[in-house]
Structure formats: structure tokens, C-alpha cells
Symmetry: C3
Subunit: 273 residues, 3 copies
């Protein structure tokens, strides 16, 4: 990735340069910024791999907390649906298998992340960028952020461990509207349901949140990491099992008529999320 | 059941007629309507069996979602306490055993239901009609609905998996007031606690809810069913185990002095729920 | 404990006298009152042992419900940090081992408590007096009560099963601010998050709460105890396992540089909770 935008990397010394991310480490905070603002930070195959690499580095370096946020007005529009249009030589079965393997490893990186992981949700979040929030420790959202997981509309099924974390966090009666019936949550609704820790006014979001994060990064690092691992340790085996089951289910979905028709309709502009 | 009120059954062709229910299937929605309005839809032994049959049929037919609701002003006043007055030849032990077997199978039908299951709570709900709500995927309630589980007042203990689902949904500190100390919840309170998905004004309840349900029934059916099974699959073994334990406990309760005295007081008008 | 303040013990006959508690049994209610108001009811080693004894007695006598509350303006300021200044002959390792054994038994007494256990939180609560609240069945709080668990500030990690109960009750995104980042909750916030059952105005707190508790204590005792055991039985093994893991982690923490420095800073007045 030496040909990437090295702007952010050079001043901080050790930071790696990425094609799709800007990663910095400062004041004990590793910040992973999704950096495809012109595409609403939609996650390409390359971006999945870079995110896993960046999480791996942040988990091992001497930063105290790790933050994920987005460039521009979107937090993340989810899986780039163009990922589904590049059919490999092995056909859709091969594509589904490869996508499943990638998804499994991607979600695993969140389940196993060893330090406090904080989402700074600067705008709308869609799909997998929403579902993995259940694996974050803190989620701060700006007032105009929204949270949308239109799985059934695309003939798909929940991932990111959301089939387990969302009902646990919100209760099944709230989670079903979100995961089955495509309800888009406002930041305030997501906060009331427990998916979001706190909502801030758009005008003061960045300053309020980063003030708080800088204070967090001054706390005893081992105490924080060990406490986080203690909290997540109880359900870790469960989360890995859920991840496996969700991915198996999705691999079947991706080659189903229901899913293919729904995605084609989307690209033909017949359906709108 | 050929002598039942066949009014609703004929027009829809395949629908079965029941003594205590009106079951229809239309626009992808299987609707099971409790139909003893003069008795506040209290559940008789016959009604338990008809409900299990109707759920079995709805789970297997080509409907997309299944709805349970009540006729008249009540959603359901719970177990018909007259069920406890017909002592069979084997005495109270036999009655407790039979009631336990029935309850076990009844709750099992909810745990195993394979499609999105939605409660349209049109009025007060009591006892087992409240407890099984934790096994529904969506619960829409009219503003004047209430939710009441007066177990300890009747010398009994929780069923319908509520000893597990209620603390999980509400947290134990809220669930104990409901399950141990007979707190009656308003629709708004039940919604804040996560037992109810959303509350609607009495005046627009039916039209708002059915508009929404008709839209849900147009979503890809397999995606919905598989997603629901994914969400509920994680805790399915746990729910079956809880059901067994709750029923064992209740069979002991039903033959206890505490319970018999409480039910006698109820019939003698000495106590009021 | 014959030399204790026998004031409260004599009138009720069987009640034991304690150095640090006032325990009474009346109208079916066993009340355990933390009685070091001049020290904000901070828990000394003696007090831990007396609390375990009082819970053991209350669990076996014929009281219907058990209440824990505080004398004076504080509910409880948590572990008396002077417990860490009495280094025994075996050094800090021995101190950590002894403290861990005590903590394990103390939390176990809450997990195994067989009757409805109710906290009457009459003022600020800190540390372990907050974390074990997740093991109570009902938590009533006065409006001015606060809830604070400054673990990472002291280089420590969560106990009292809070690493499991808090994320379960509040969702992980809310729990992390409390358990990792030292957020102090108001009574109203704790109630919205489900840790507290209900909040009452300071002026009417005592009369409203005790009126309610007296009514609860008139309900069928076996039904209440069995229902509570049913509710808690599902997660009992999990809670015991969490307790063991939390204590193991804390024993490592207590002998760590991070923790020792944090506690020294506290005593030197360099840091303020």
C-alpha cells in the first residue's frame, strides 16, 4: 500500500498508509477513518481487508482506545453492492463462498478486538456498519445520524452478530422491526434502544466527543483493556458461533432467487432502500 | 369442528373453522382471532388446543406473517380459571399433570413457530397471554391496553418462558415488579420496557397497524422466515429448557395449599386481581 | 457479637446484634441496615462478614422479603479503601488472595439468596454496593441517589458480576461508560437504564417505599421465593462462573503497578473520584 495517500501516515511516523482509510495514532487514540466520502464510505473488498489490517495493528500497538469514524457526511453506507457484480470464474457459488469467508473474518476482528472500541458515528450508517455496532464498547452519534439494516428488502439476513446482539440490547420486539422489517432508526431512537451510547447536537458533536475520548485515553490502559475483555469474555464463544451461523445462512441467501432478484431490482432502480 | 362458526372459513377456501377462534388468511397474513369476547377471550382447554392447531397450520401454509389478536374490547384475560374447577377422576394431581402437559405443548408452539409472529393487542392482556408475548417478534398495542401477570396473587409462578424472557427484555429490576409483585403495566410502560414494539392511539390503532402489516407481508418470505429463525435460534434450546422448568414448578404450585386457597378466594370474590 | 449495639436486636427477640449493621425482622420484612453513617457506610472487612451472616440468617428465617438499606445520607460508599492499607505478614500477594476469597464469598451470598431481595437506595452508592445491585430483584432509589463505579480510575476491574449483569441490563454501549469510563449515573439515569426499578422524590421516598414493601410481604411467601429462584435459576451457573473470573482478574489487578499507583494517588489526595 506504499502508493496510497501517505499524507496522514508520515507525520505520525509508524502509521501505515491505506487506499481506503486514514489511520492515525495520537494521544493514546488510534483513529480509523473510512475514507471514500464520494461513495458514502461504502465498503469495498479492499476496504474490508484494510479495516481488518488496521484493527489488527491498533489492537497490538500502545494506543489505549480505538475509534472508527467516517470522512464526509456519511458514517458508512454499508457493503458496496458492486461487490456483488464482479462474478468470479467460479460463478455465483464461488462469489458467495469468498464473500462469506471475508465476512466471517471481518466480524471476527470485531469480536476479538482486545481494547475499548468506540464508534464516532458522524452521519447515516447502513447495513454491516450498523450491525457490528453491537460489538463496539461505546457508540457516540451525531443528531442527524440514522441506522438502517434493510436485509429482507434485499432478500438477505442479518450479519455482524446482530441476530444475537440486537435482540439482547433492544429486546426482540424492538429488534424485529429493525432486522426483519427494515425500520430505519434515528440517532435518538437508536440511543433509547441502547444501540447508541449518547447523541450529540450536530454543531458540537466533534468537539464534545473528542474532548471526552481524550480524557478516556488517559485512564490506566491495562485496567481498561482487561475490563473490556472481562465484559466481552462471557459471550465470546457465543458471538463466534453466531457469526458462523449468520455467514452460513447468508451464503445460501446470496445464491437464492429472492436475493438475486432483489439486488437486480436495486441496480435497475426499481427499488429504493 | 364442522359445527363451528363457518362464516370466516368459507370465503377463504382452505381455512379451518374453530369453536373459539376466527382464522383467516389473506394478503399473505394468517390472522388468528381469539373469539370469546363475552368471556374477555379467556382461554379454555378447547381454545388452547385450537390455538396450537391454528399455529401449526399457519406455520406450514404459504402465509408470510402470522398475527394473533382478540375479538371485542379485550385482547385476552388469560387462562380461564374455570379450567381449575373441573377436577378429573384422578383428582388434583391428575388435573395438575394434564394442565402441565397442555401448557408445555402450548408454549412450545410459540417457541418453535417458524415465521414472523405478530401480536395486535387490542385491549387488556392478562396472564399467559402476556407472558408468551416475549416469544413474539413484534407486539403492537393500542393505547388503552394493559399487561398484567398476577402470579403470586394466585399462589402461582411465571410461565410462557417469562421467567427468562422478561428479565432479558426489561432487566431483572423491572421484571420482578411484574412477575413477582403483580404490577400491571400500561401500554406505554410495556413499550418503554421493550415488551411492546409500539403503541398507537385507540382511534387509529387498527388502520395504522394493518397498513403496516400488509406492507410487511409483501417482503421476501424466505428472507423473513430464515431471519426470524436465525434470531430465535440462538436461544431456542434455552427457551425449551425454561419451559420445562416453569411447567414443573407450576405443577407443584397447583397442588399447593397456597395456590388452592388463592384460587378459592378468587372464586369467592374475596380477592380481586 | 454480644458486645454490639443491641438496641435494635432486643425488641424483635431473635434478631442478632452486629457491629456494623442494624438488622430487624418485622411484618415479614428482614431489614439489613448498613450502620457506619459517619463513614458513609463504607464496607470494612468486618462488615463484609456481618453482611454475609445477616443474608444467611434472612435467607433461612420466615421473613418473606429482605431489604438492604443505609443509615444516614449515604447508601454505601463501597469498599473501604483502608482495607488495602493493612498489609498482612504475607505481603500484598497474601492481601490480594485474602481479599479475593472474601469478595468471592460475598458476591456468592447475593447470587444464591433464595428470596426476593430489595435495595432501598437512600443516597449515593459507590463501587461494590452498585455492582451487586444487578443481583437484587428490586431496586428503589431516592431522587438524589447516585451510582458510581470508578474501577479504571483506581486501576481495577468490575466485580459483583457487573461485567455480566450491567451489559445484559443496559446493553454494552451504556454499560461501558459506567464500567470502563467511570460515568456516575443519577437515579433517573440508572432507572432509564434498568438498573433501578423506580425513583421516588426524596421527601416521600421512605413512606412510599415502605408502604409498598409491606404490601409485598403479605403475598404468598412460597410463591414469591420459588418465582424468584425460577427467574434467577436460568443464569445461576453463569453468575457463579463470572464471579470466579472477575475475582481472578481483580487479584492480578490488586498487585499491579497501575492499581497500586492509583490507590496511592487517592490516599495522597492527588486524585478525586
Amino acid at each position: 500500500a506504499a502508493e496510497g495517500p501517505a499524507v496522514a501516515a508520515s507525520p505520525t511516523g509508524g502509521a501505515k498508509a491505506y487506499e481506503t482509510l486514514i489511520v492515525t495514532t495520537e494521544d493514546g487514540i488510534a483513529t480509523i477513518r473510512l475514507n471514500r466520502p464520494q461513495k458514502k464510505n461504502a465498503i469495498t473488498l479492499e476496504m474490508y481487508n484494510e479495516l481488518m489490517d488496521a484493527l489488527d495493528v491498533a489492537g497490538k500497538d500502545d494506543s489505549v482506545i480505538t475509534v472508527i469514524t467516517g470522512s464526509g457526511n456519511y458514517y458508512c453506507s454499508g457493503n458496496d453492492l458492486n461487490n456483488f457484480t464482479k462474478i468470479p470464474e467460479g460463478g455465483v457459488d464461488k462469489m458467495a463462498k469468498d464473500a462469506g469467508d471475508l465476512l466471517l473474518r471481518y466480524v471476527k476482528a470485531y469480536i476479538d478486538f482486545p481494547k475499548p472500541l468506540i464508534a464516532v458515528v458522524n452521519g447515516p450508517a447502513v447495513g454491516i456498519s450498523v450491525t457490528v455496532l453491537g460489538l463496539f464498547d461505546v457508540v457516540y452519534a451525531t443528531e442527524s445520524a440514522t441506522f438502517h439494516t434493510p436485509f429482507s428488502q434485499l432478500g438477505q439476513s442479518p450479519e455482524g452478530c446482530s441476530s444475537y446482539t440486537f435482540p439482547t440490547i433492544m429486546g426482540p420486539a424492538k429488534a424485529a422491526e429493525v432486522l426483519l422489517f427494515n425500520k430505519k432508526l434515528t440517532a435518538t431512537q437508536a440511543c433509547e434502544l441502547g444501540l447508541v451510547t449518547e447523541v450529540f447536537p450536530d454543531s458540537s458533536f466533534q468537539s464534545e466527543v473528542w474532548t471526552r475520548l481524550k480524557a478516556y485515553a488517559k485512564l490506566p490502559p491495562k485496567s481498561l483493556a482487561l475490563s473490556k475483555q472481562l465484559i466481552r469474555g462471557v459471550e465470546k464463544d457465543q458471538l463466534h458461533a453466531v457469526n458462523v451461523t449468520e455467514v452460513e445462512r447468508l451464503k445460501e441467501r446470496w445464491v437464492s432467487d429472492e436475493c438475486m432478484q432483489a439486488i437486480m431490482s436495486f441496480f435497475q432502480g426499481k427499488s429504493k432502500l
